[in-house]
Each structure stands twice: as structure tokens, then as C-alpha cells.
Symmetry: C2
Subunit: 478 residues, 2 copies
């Protein structure tokens, strides 16, 4: 594998601060299929190692811990944002919030509250005000107070309708209410500005074609106003779907990397099942990093956990599939951390891949693997990819604010029919039909019909999870 | 007038280099109406002062003069780009170009050749290759070799069709041929890449609605490929329309500012006739700059000279109108330079205003006046402005690479019916109907019907030019 490495590795090793966790959780059921096929939980031991990470409720908590500058790479803005109200102040904030005008959050809004509150979007401290929104839309970056630039390619905004705007009136703060009608957060020093949906969509997706999943789910019918402000979350966001233990915050991940004495962390963003081509790549990346002199590179296997389009494999199935891949030894649990990245998916290609990389800086990863057509999808109405498959890695390598991250573009893997395993595609052998590309569609068809994919395509345990899922889906359909 | 001034005034006063002008000109007729009403030429003395600026053909010329770091503000990239082949090498370049595969330029392409060759887009040295195109599209800026960032909000690209691409084959250089079939330039070390028109339009205009003038004129029917490379222009671009003497290059403007001993240059971009509200603003800006301590602020009255939409007033009429405004003493010729900015107009609002400002940095202006809805227009299909009228100045004030430019947002002027003159709009008097807003439509109607606008709206000489133009237009229509 040829690695293109930019040598800007931050090596400061100041100690990280212990996580201050709050233990009363709000309840949410995200978009999880009714019939769960999620049975085992083999990753808990991997994720949590042997040390308990949670404070008991009786322990004192400190609000907005001092700057975390741990480990391998500084968070954007120099300090990891943490917007959860300390327990000691919670009661008074709840009373305050109850008296405020209310704004309703849908499931995706709530995922963004989660993302912002844990500092994935550091230094962003709430839903964007107009100056942040415009910078994001036009420059894919924000200028901070000290004049430095951080990447911010997606507008992280909250839409409200005319009626809500009127109800807010001249109030400077509002309460945010979740899909289950419970109080989630306060948004302070609010600013309400116009939501020009057409412009937002055009500049974010580079198209206004109908059929963009995120747009249809949450923008098309949204209100004509955006409301920005400083966020204070009353309690940590939890989903109670059996997967919350995978939802490590950037602070928790940084601590985990420190406790494992990682000297390099390479993040792999995914929203699909892991096949052996992915595994080959991840293992090969680790080998390359060791060749470069790193002693203990750690893989952050980081599936996206928020909104995905209907034909993507649901999160619970993916988590079970990933766990089987580790059980089967395809990836090494000792050098792998599996955790959920709580962001919703935009399918905005070169614009979104910057967000995926930037958030992993905040989580402490100093290497980021980028593949063909990251965050891409098929064009909704034309028979082509929505984005040029090469643009993602090109844009990522040039993006403002990502200079400190080492970008690892990866070679394409395909099924090698001669050696009967996934291997890096070798163009010199392409004409001999020695490589088989197994698309998502082909994989789904294998799983639906019960036919086995070629030997060595995927760990057998992982494959069974997919077969179960797709066959349960067919049962539901008929 | 309230001026918001960012104090980053560069004050180095290294001597500018004398312009090296080439004297054999190619011939073009840009989009000029057949019946010219352009009669007088009173600005020549203003523009050229008393000193001749042209070298005679016998004088030796030096190619790519050393870095011009004259005056008040550094050109982007530190050096003003000049891509005109020195006369001594012209014959050999022409022979070379004749043997190369040819690419045809339309009128707008040729305007861009003009713009690039004179350094308005410094440090850009040719039509964009893909890495520049992607940075422009996604970040509105380019990172230079030394890591610094320059603004570049519009993709400056050249489209070719499949047939041309095939004809170019594996050639590394091509010849560029103008609309009149004459050889214009060589494009070297070319790169051909996909022209995704939908994405280009969406990211540049923030909409894909039909009816965008620049899009319909030059993108919709353009080829599916873009060709980038390093430009070498065989001779300076001239239009032979009686207005070439107004087309001062950035280098000529910098010399002019130096020769006038300007200690501040404030640029006013316009594509419309100058009324007394504009004049009030420009005079008031000068007064404010003097109050700030500047001794000799010079106004660069800088009408855009390239492509404009059909219902805009044509360039020759505007130049005559501007000259009358100076003749009538509404603006002071001693402290004003009138010149043509050769760029075509995108009507891309907040994205384009950055280009308008950036190009003026290269021309040596260190102050830039920005108004309501700069580079904006009505939405082609909805009854609203295409852009939020406030976004232009907001985006401009935050744009990467424009930090060194002083942005002067201006207050709106309207006709004060009490004092019978254009005045800054005073909201406290708004309810009493003491201000009259005279829109472009209203102004056109006055001119067409021969009715006079309110006294003090525009210099009488300037007004007559417009009446003549609109009435000649009606004559043509019937």
C-alpha cells in the first residue's frame, strides 16, 4: 500500500483529564428497526478494556473541564467543547428551561445536539449563528477569535417555522424539547435568521436535485428560519437502544488512546459492513505505520451512528457485524477500538468527508483513511455517481483547517479470484479477469438469496449477520 | 457615514516599475451596440494625466517585470502576474502556437484571458487546473506554495467539448484562438478534467434555477471538459471599441496611484450609471478617510467592462455617463481615476463580490466600498432578490485572503424630498415619506418617457446620456 503521509504529527503528551460523566440519562429510541437481531455484545470488553469509565452519581463532577490537550493531536480551537450542564446546576437549569419558549427537535436535530454537546464539532458551542453558517457554506471553515482557521464544512443548524419564531418573540433564550417531549437543552443568546433552503442545499451538496436523503428527511419540510445560539445540554444524550456503551465521546476516546499508550491513531469512518478488503486496508495501514517507526498504532473503527438512508444497513446490524469481524480475528481487538460516531449522514461527498475527518481530529485521531467516493452515493436521477469519486480525497487533502491531520488515501481492494482472497487491485492483472468487484448491490443479492459470496470476501460470522438481516427484511416484505 | 475600518494598511512604498506595453494589438469587437452614442472622450486627460504611458515600438521591453510591490497593498501572492509574451519572443511563440492543436475562445473566454494575463487574478497564471478549481469551488480561496491563502471565489475555467478534447490528444500545450479566428495565446502543461456543470453552478450561485445570465450565456451549452494550464498571451488584449484607453492594467493603475502620491485608494465597483447617491457616498468616503488622517485618498471609479446581462446599460453608454458626471463636477477629476475592470459579470452575489474585491487588491486599492446586495440580481423565477442583500458584505468581511483589504460597508442613499437631493437614508424620517427610493426600473421608465427624475437625482449631463440611450433603444424596438 502506498501511503501519502503529511508529516505534521503533533506530539505533545500532556495528560488528559478524567472524564466527568453524568449518570441520569434521557431516553430516546433512534431509527432502529422494530425486530432487533442484535444479540451479542462482545465489544464491551474491547471498548472498555478493564477499567470502569463511569463516575458513580455520588462523585463530584466538574463542569467544562479544563482544556484537554491530550495525546496526539489538539482539538480544533485548542480545547474540547463539553456542553453538558454539571449535575450540581441541573435542577436550576431545568427550572429555567421550563419557563422558556420551546423549540421542538426532531431525531436528527437531537443527533446534532449530541454531536455538538460532546465537542465533535469543537470549537462550535451551539447551533450556528448566521456568521458561522455563512462561513461554513462559503468557505467550509470558521475563523476563530485568535485568527486561526478550523474546518467546518457542514452547516450545523436548527430550523424553526414561522409559528415557533413568533412564539419565541423577543426572548433571548429558548428551551429545546426532544421528539419524546422531554426537555433536552437551553439555547442561549439566540439569533434567528433566514433559512434559504435552496442556497443551503446547492452550496452543501453541489446540486438541488430531488432525492437527496438528508434533504428530504430534514430540510424540504423544515421551517423558513434558522435559530443559532449557545447550547447547554441538561443531561448527556442517550438512546437506550443497547448501543450506548459504544457511543464514546471525544473525551472518552482520547482517554482510551492514552490508556493504551497509542503513538498513532488512525480513524476509519464507515457506514457499511466490514468486508475483508476493508480489513486488509486497515491491517496494512497499521503495518505501514509501524514501518514508519510508530510503536503502537491504534485503529479507531468508527461507524457512523446517526441518520442513514433506508437502504443502508441499520446501525444495530452493522455493530453486530463489526463485532463478529473482531471475534473472527479479522481485525485485532488489542489494537482496535470500536465506537459509534453519533453524527447523522448527509451523503454530501467532498463537503461531508471534511466533517468526518474534522470530527476525528477532535476525537484524538491523527491519521485519517479516505477511500474512493467518501460520503458519496449514486446520483438520484442519473446513472452515475453523484460526486466524482476522486474529489473526496482531493478536497480533503486541500481543506482549510485539516493541515494537522495526516490523510491516508487508500488503494482499492477487490476479490482476487486467483488467490481467493481480497487483495489490493492490481491494474496490470485487470485484463485477465483476475479481480472481482463486489458491489453493495451484488452483496445484498448474495445475502438475500442465501448464496455465499466468494470464499474470503467477509468473515463468516460477519456474513451470517448480514444474511440474517436481509432475510428478515424479505420476511417482513412478504 | 459610519465607516468600519480594519486597520491593516500596508505602507511599503517601493517604486513601481514602468509598464512594458506591447503595441501590436489584436482586434475585437465586444458586445457593443451597433449604433454607438459614445461621442466625447473627456476622461482621457484624467486617466492619463499629462504623462504618456505607452512605449514606442522601438523601445526594448522586458518580459515579466520583477515583482511589483508598489504602494499601498501587496498583490496576492506578492507579485503581480503578467503573462504577455515579450515582443522579442513573439515571432517564435506565434510559430509554435500555429503548430499546436487549437482551442476556440468565445467572447467571455477572451475576457478571462485578458483578466488573467494582466494579473487581476494574481497569483493565478492561467485557466484553473482541477486542484485550483476544487479549492475555488469549495473554499473560495487558494493555498499558495508558501502556505498562505489568497482569495479566489470564482472558478476561472475554460470549457472544451469532446471533439476538441479528442483533437488535443496527448499534446501538452494548445493554442487558443479568438472569436475572430486569430491566435491569442498558448496554454502550457495542460490538464483536462470533467466539467460537472450542475455542481459548478450550484456551488458558485447557490442555486441551479434557470435564467442565470452568465450560466445561460456560457455554461449551459459549454463542453463537458475543462482545460487548465499556464497562459502565455501573444499580444495584449484590445477591443478597438474606442474604450481601450480606459482599460488600465493593475500595473498601470498602481503606477497611476504612485504618480498621484495616493496614500489611500478606495475602489468603487459598479455596472450601473452613477447617480448622486453614489457620488454622495464616494465623496463622503473621501472625507472620512481624510478625517482618519489620510492626506490624499484617491477614488478608483471602476465600472465592470466584460459581459453583462441584456437589460444592464451597455459599457459605452455607462462610460459616457460617468464622464459627464465628472464633467459636471459631481466627482472631482483631480482625486478620481476612471478605468474599466475587464472582468465579465457572474451575478453571483456573495461569491462574486469577493472576486470584485480581490481583483482590486491586485490593482492597488486598499479600501473597498461594498453596498447592499453586491453582484446581486432579482431571482429569475421568484419575486425576491436572488441573494439576501446583507450577505454580500457579511461574506466579504469574513472571506479568507481578504484580511488585508479595508472593507467599507455603505449606508443606503435615497432621494430626500424635503431637501431635494440624494441623502443618506435616515430611518427616523422614513415614516414621513421624506425619502424616495428610485429603483433601476423607475429610472428606466423616467428615461424612456422623457420625464425628468427629481431634481438632484443625477447630474444633468449624465441623465441626458441615459435618456438618449433608452430612447434610441425604443426607436430600435419599433
Amino acid at each position: 500500500m502506498s501511503l501519502t503521509i503529511k508529516l505534521h504529527v503533533t506530539t505533545s503528551h500532556s495528560h488528559s483529564h478524567r472524564l466527568n460523566h453524568l449518570t441520569k440519562f434521557t431516553s430516546y429510541s433512534p431509527n432502529i428497526r422494530s425486530k432487533s437481531i442484535y444479540h451479542s455484545d462482545p465489544l464491551v470488553s474491547i471498548v472498555y478494556n478493564t477499567k470502569p469509565r463511569m463516575h458513580s452519581p455520588s462523585q463530584p463532577v466538574v463542569h467544562q473541564a479544563p482544556a484537554i490537550k491530550s495525546s496526539l493531536i489538539e482539538p480544533d480551537g485548542g480545547e474540547l467543547v463539553n456542553l453538558v450542564v454539571p449535575e450540581s446546576e441541573r435542577a436550576s437549569r431545568v427550572s429555567e428551561a421550563q419557563a422558556l419558549p420551546k423549540v421542538s427537535l426532531n431525531k436528527i436535530d437531537l443527533e446534532w445536539v449530541h454531536v455538538i454537546s460532546e465537542g465533535w464539532a469543537s470549537p462550535l458551542k451551539g447551533f450556528m449563528r448566521e456568521d458561522e453558517y455563512l462561513q461554513s457554506l462559503h468557505f467550509n471553515s470558521l475563523r476563530t477569535k485568535d485568527g486561526s482557521v478550523v474546518n467546518m464544512s457542514l452547516p450545523i443548524v436548527l430550523a424553526i417555522d414561522d409559528e415557533t419564531k413568533e412564539r419565541i418573540g423577543s426572548s433571548t433564550n429558548v428551551g429545546l424539547v426532544g421528539p419524546n417531549r422531554d426537555l433536552i437543552a437551553i439555547l442561549r443568546s439566540i439569533e434567528i435568521y433566514k433559512h434559504n433552503k435552496e442556497e443551503r442545499i446547492a452550496r452543501t451538496w453541489g446540486t438541488t436535485v430531488s432525492g437527496l436523503p438528508y434533504v428530504e428527511e430534514t430540510i424540504t419540510n423544515a421551517g423558513n428560519w434558522l435559530i443559532g445560539g449557545d447550547l447547554e445540554v441538561l443531561e448527556p444524550i442517550k438512546y437506550n437502544d443497547g448501543l450506548d456503551h459504544y457511543r464514546l465521546s471525544p473525551q472518552q476516546l482520547r482517554e482510551e488512546f492514552d490508556s493504551r499508550k497509542a503513538d498513532a491513531v488512525f480513524a476509519f469512518q464507515l457506514r457499511n459492513p466490514v468486508h475483508n478488503g476493508h480489513a486488509l486496508l486497515m491491517n496494512d495501514t497499521r503495518r505501514s505505520l509501524i514501518e514508519m517507526g510508530y510503536k503502537n498504532p491504534i485503529l479507531l473503527l468508527h461507524p457512523l451512528g446517526g441518520f442513514t438512508k433506508v437502504d443502508d444497513v441499520p446501525l444495530d446490524v452493522r455493530m453486530e457485524q463489526h463485532s463478529k469481524v473482531l471475534e473472527d480475528g479479522i481485525l485485532d481487538p488489542k489494537t482496535t477500538i470500536v465506537a459509534i460516531f453519533p453524527s447523522p449522514m448527509h451523503y454530501a461527498g467532498p463537503t461531508e468527508v471534511q466533517w468526518h475527518a474534522k470530527a476525528r481530529i477532535n476525537a484524538g485521531a491523527n491519521f485519517y483513511i479516505v477511500g474512493r467516493d467518501p460520503a458519496g452515493m449514486g446520483h438520484p436521477t442519473e446513472n452515475r455517481d453523484l460526486y466524482d469519486p476522486d474529489h473526496g480525497k482531493k478536497v480533503l487533502s486541500m481543506a482549510p483547517g485539516l493541515e494537522k491531520l495526516n490523510i491516508l488515501p487508500f488503494r482499492v481492494a477487490a476479490y482476487d479470484t486467483v488467490h481467493k482472497k481480497m487483495a489490493f487491485f492490481d491494474p496490470s492483472r485487470a485484463n485477465k479477469n483476475e479481480f472481482l468487484f463486489i458491489s453493495g448491490t451484488k452483496m445484498r443479492n448474495y445475502a438475500k438469496t442465501g448464496e455465499n459470496p466468494p470464499e474470503g470476501f467477509m468473515s463468516s460470522g460477519g456474513w451470517k449477520v448480514l444474511v440474517n438481516y436481509y432475510q428478515s427484511l424479505q420476511t417482513e416484505e412478504y
